[in-house]
Assembly symmetry: C2
Homo-oligomer: 396 residues x 2
Amino acid sequence: MHTVNEHMQGLGTVRSVIRDLFEYGLKRASEVGAENVYDYSLGNPSTPAPASVEADMLDLIAHEDSVSLHGYTSAQGLYSVRKAVSDDIRTRFGAEVGPDDIYMTCGAAASLTVTLKALVNPGDEVVAIAPFFPEYRVFSEAAGAVFRVAEADLGAFQINFDALSAVLNARTKAVIVNSPNNPSGVVFRRETVEKLCAMLKEREAEYGHPIFLISDEPYRELVYDGTEVPYLMNLYDDTVVCYSFSKSLSLPGERIGYIAVSPKIRENRALYAAVCGAGRALGYVCAPSMMQQVVAKNLGKTSDLSVYRTNRDLLYNALTEMGYEAVYPDGAFYLFVKSPEPDAKAFSERAKQLDLLLVPSDSFGCPGYVRLAYCVKTEMIRRSLPAFRKLIESYR
Amino acid sequence: MHTVNEHMQGLGTVRSVIRDLFEYGLKRASEVGAENVYDYSLGNPSTPAPASVEADMLDLIAHEDSVSLHGYTSAQGLYSVRKAVSDDIRTRFGAEVGPDDIYMTCGAAASLTVTLKALVNPGDEVVAIAPFFPEYRVFSEAAGAVFRVAEADLGAFQINFDALSAVLNARTKAVIVNSPNNPSGVVFRRETVEKLCAMLKEREAEYGHPIFLISDEPYRELVYDGTEVPYLMNLYDDTVVCYSFSKSLSLPGERIGYIAVSPKIRENRALYAAVCGAGRALGYVCAPSMMQQVVAKNLGKTSDLSVYRTNRDLLYNALTEMGYEAVYPDGAFYLFVKSPEPDAKAFSERAKQLDLLLVPSDSFGCPGYVRLAYCVKTEMIRRSLPAFRKLIESYR
């Protein structure tokens, strides 16, 4: 008998490349000083929560009964909160969801693990479109799915439809999309998602069962040029939205988000029940109770995101001027830069010698790039530019 | 292809008996008035969080930097918090745990699902000692285990060692114990746990592999007569403690607890890594960040628990005087009452006609009883007594 589950041991031992670089950065900062380490590894918001968020917390603590404020809510979340969320979705996007289509979660990761566990039967396939957030693989496999990757569109970083077409088959249970995208920063344009939905509808008809579109949307609010982010429920019936307030309200540690199950899904009630069952089986009793009330009072608000835009412009312009090739990001807080040599890990290692911490893209399913998380102090970007120049010059 | 995972759909559709009764109570209260419904269904603390807990929240919000207060922590929790927790365990119980043996969780349910996922390989068996919290079955099966029950000791509600002995075998991976116990309210005495540990050690030697003792301790602080609750890590090497602050600090909705992995476990580092991996696979990115800091400042403190003691004395004395047979509870906030007829469900139904909501014990693995959660207003207990009298008289 094995003492522990070795697959879990592996997941806990081999940390994600991102976390590894981040921990290295902390260690290095203690050696050479934090101001000399240019850490672009982690997607941790660098702008504070809106003042109204902290004001609402203070107000709730001061005026609400402690027993009910900090007590269990129903498993799917407080009715008043689910009503506020569904009203917000209806008002902003016109999708006809109601309170009983909303399930409050402990953040984006929980939204995904619960949705996948609700949908997947052993052997079902889950498709991600490269480049993708590496934990999609972990979450899909933990739910018992076979994880499949549709290769990237290396031009505009929209969708490579030939690759997607090749990977879809009768065992496809779901496709995960993430726009604005981590790691590319790109937003899928309306024509892209329309073509995606048309392809999936065709395959649903061909295979005779639904293919769910799981829209992972933690970056929905983070777009910088008024770029449209189409609401997929309006374009495709079998849509589940996985949302988190981590980035929009700068609350990543507080673990608060939701799942919205489209009422147009034919077996909508069965799926919603399965979401509740999956939450129960994974040990999610309810989303944090006070935070449920706080986010309900702050729907549609965001932190001051202007620093991200400033950072994007500064970093994109400076690096492309130096000769780097980079994908122009419409949203999120990531810049995807082409490695000057084919092996992005080697490039990341060389950058590390200059105390530039850049995440190689291999685990994003798209080798040959590095990801820069620019949710950092603008000052750090400025200080890092000479090192970037030195780095690219070392390739000449 | 099935549209959803039907096992999850089942778990989300057939709610626990407890939740069902609770929802019935809400409906009934709206019909006849809340003061006329005597709801003993749910273990939701009825005493507020200590004043220091809310004061610490206000202080953190007012003085800590928002970005770090609400930011991601490392997956296992803030180092300072894990250090405070391990110091507290060493000071209070003398067990030699350190910060790297502690993994902060989103509450007791998460502590259990993460621990089970870390330990279980398909086909491994997990044993619960009846009566037990019904979700143990759900959590164990979700981790891929075969769930086995050791029948109850119907005398003192300690452990039925003949039953336990019969259920242990070479496939046993873990035994879950819960003292103070939900639903019996009983605390396992020192001689009980010593005998348990001796039996498990013997079986470990016989089978040549560890059998883990998972100590689920959300009620550790809730004891009323100075009853000792032995710390199992001190008695048995292969112990994992699953703790929650839900009951001790009256914060059940805030989802905060921890796992303590005994350093005496031979493959301690492998198990701790598997715990980290399981947390990752289930989507637990970190425990709620502000609450981590709050509980670290309130270790060893509790809410004012005197109301539970008042309630226990009032309810136990009144019911036994009327002729009910009940287990004398040393802790938690549950009273386990023998049904006057063999079928506890029928008894619960008859009680319901008098607006007394009592949970039948079948799902606790111990038929023929009802559970009363007395974490309620003392006034409600007083008002309910005539109904209890009418109920038992109906059996004469």
